[in-house]
Symmetry: C2
Subunit: 414 residues, 2 copies
């Protein structure tokens, strides 16, 4: 029988009533002829309650005990989901991570999946079980202790199961109905995408479109797992075209050059004026920033003049003070001799993402023209193969997103 993985997030299993709604969707897929693996998160709020107790108990806590405590939330929903399915006469049972087993590294609280045993669950499918309900987010370490995969780990669990069991698809049920061309709160023209390529989803996820964890998209791309994002709060009978399918680019017949416009308001820009343009200068600056835990994003080095150059980079607003003090330290130690440090905390990052850019020239020019036509000045530009990002003044965020959404005609399907 074909296998389907269905993952339900915390808001989708927040109460016994919502678990019943989710179970109804599972039952429908069983009726469609699938063996189903259901991955569940903890009931909304439960993980925070458990983490709260741990943090109230201990500041520098033992991550192994943290994992033992926090993993209990998924254990509860797995059992309740199995009971709910049984109540609907669907043969089901629950599995803890250690029972599967889902083997992970020893890195407690942020473990990596190393192996998923398929024998035990497949044996039950062979005996007539229709649904294996698996507690998401958790696994077992080489020492036999409970591990967790870090925040959003249940998405990763779901994709890993889909890969291990060769599932036809991995459906991620959440509280949004798919991936949009941009944030619908910014423009009503935002359109739900029927399909998006893994690479595009990765860029969007890392840009802050918080629909899927980056890690789960990476995993899906590596193992070519078709990943569908859809809402658990819409009509259960959404059919095959519901939500957004994240898939290989070959599976996308026609697509716009640009898939979506993303933004991030939480950005600051920092420039070191007139640093010596010598080998190793970048390492001398960004090594200490990395050591201080600063997430530097865009980096631009100006053309050198008289052996001096300006170095500009962007970073999250709330890391500016730490970055300043790291830079003062390197200046004082004589490693980096800059004349001044200029900070701009009123910027936003706007990005257009699309695999079509690879074959279509002129996307950057079209983007810059659209921003110029609105009178928006560009402070920093970076590009990758399928993404162009710019820093602009923060007050123009909505205007820029709307202009770019229009100029690339994202309101109409490609």
């Amino acid at each position: 029988m074909p296998t389907l993985v269905m993952k339900f997030g915390g808001t989708s299993v927040a109460t016994p009533e919502r678990i019943r709604n989710a179970a109804e969707r599972v039952e429908r897929e069983v009726a469609n002829g699938y063996d189903v693996i259901v991955i569940v998160s903890a009931m909304a709020g439960k993980t925070n309650e458990l983490v709260g107790w741990v943090e109230e108990t201990s500041n520098l806590y033992d991550a192994r005990e943290y994992d033992a405590v926090v993993s209990s939330g998924e254990q509860v929903t797995a059992g309740l989901m199995a009971l709910t399915l049984q109540e609907r006469d669907v043969p089901a049972r629950s599995w803890q991570g250690w029972q599967v087993p889902l083997k992970t590294s020893n890195a407690h609280a942020s473990a990596r999946i190393e192996d998923i045993g398929t024998d035990a669950i497949n044996a039950k499918f062979a005996e007539g079980m229709k649904v294996a309900v698996v507690a998401g987010f958790q696994g077992i370490s080489p020492e036999g202790r409970i591990t967790t995969l870090g925040r959003g780990g249940s998405d990763t669990t779901a994709v890993a199961f889909a890969a291990a069991f060769g599932a036809e698809r991995c459906d991620i049920y959440t509280d949004v109905d798919g991936v949009y061309t941009t944030d619908p709160r910014i423009t009503s023209k935002a359109r739900k995408l029927d399909r998006i390529a893994f690479e595009e989803m990765l860029e969007l996820a890392s840009l802050g479109a918080k629909v899927l964890q980056t890690r789960s998209v990476e995993l899906a791309m590596r193992y070519k797992v078709k990943l569908r994002v859809l809402s658990s709060f819409e009509n259960a009978d959404q059919g095959e075209t519901a939500g957004t399918l994240v898939c290989d680019e070959e599976d996308i017949m026609e697509s716009n050059v640009v898939a979506g416009v993303a933004y991030s308001r939480d950005e600051a820009k920092m420039t070191l004026l007139s640093v010596a343009d010598r080998p190793g200068i970048a390492a001398a600056i960004f090594g200490p920033l990395s050591d201080a835990g600063i997430n530097v994003d865009m980096i631009v080095q100006n053309i050198s003049e008289d052996g001096r150059t300006d170095m500009t980079f962007s970073l999250p607003t709330n890391q500016v003070e730490r970055a300043k003090s790291a830079m003062e330290t390197v200046k004082n130690s004589g490693d980096v001799n800059y004349t001044d440090l200029v900070t701009d905390e009123e910027v936003a990052k706007i990005s257009v993402v699309g695999i079509g850019m690879r074959s279509h020239a002129g996307v950057a020019a079209q983007m810059f023209k659209a921003l110029r036509d609105e009178g928006i000045n560009i402070k920093v530009i970076t590009t990758s193969e399928i993404k162009i990002s710019v820093l602009i003044e923060r007050k123009y965020t909505e205007l820029a997103v709307q202009a770019l959404h229009d100029t690339f005609a994202l309101e109409s399907a490609g």
Copy 2:
């Protein structure tokens, strides 16, 4: 190093603050030179919350899923207790039932302990760990699924660990400070016992002194585990004489003939008048009652006259209706031909318990005289080696308990 088992019930670990208080007691015993095994219950109220969800989900639930859900409460407190001890620089770690492993039968929701592996925990003690925190109430089935031991199972877990590890003692921390000669709400003369024999505790536990689960006392008696009941809400420095020690009768140097007076108000008496006194008549009556789930307690058969006899038995008040209908069925089928069925729902059972009865004649006579002196009529009498129970009119319950407590001089130590 000598090993000590310490068990903390739900009210003793209800909040992170109370867990800290409990950890303080554990730390004290570590300082006293013990390797400690701590058994924890779920935070007070948590098990009921989990059971509530299960019951909301399903009426005739799969006990295997019930166990998966309900066992999560102990998992949380075990982790939090380990963290709390670590925070106090006490080397500790948590263990789930399946990690120990604590192997049980397959009888989910009321599993029996079959084996406790000691190697893994002992290896950690050898490495310098001072405290193993074990989630109570839970184990692992031969099929590798989580089991629970039924209500009060954490007491049983504690005693089983004490037996498996040859612990010097098993301390049960609860919300009362020990076992009393009778209910202190009935007489202020009630005295906390320093020691009580296993057999006496068993009779008292089954009579409704709800300090310890009967099952844990049976297990302690079989494996000669010294069991101490004490309060987790009193001064931490209670010393060796705190609470009540439940132990072998040889360990009790001097004792009163009677250890305590117990009572149960929730009793009814039923009499079948003039049944045929023939072989198999008891089976014909009590078989159907047992099949109907009636907990018959005391049974008295009067002297036979002309081949007919009266059969009297006691049972819980709320089972009277079911018992009546079972008796009507056997009468109608012709198996038991009685002339009338008389029910008295206004009775109470009063019992005196003490191993000293074995060697002291006249306890029964002294008991009957004390009741007669108060004008209390005895309706039914049963005796065992260390217990005499009577049924009396319910309104005399307090009077009878007080009179017996006085007549056996229980307010003064033996």
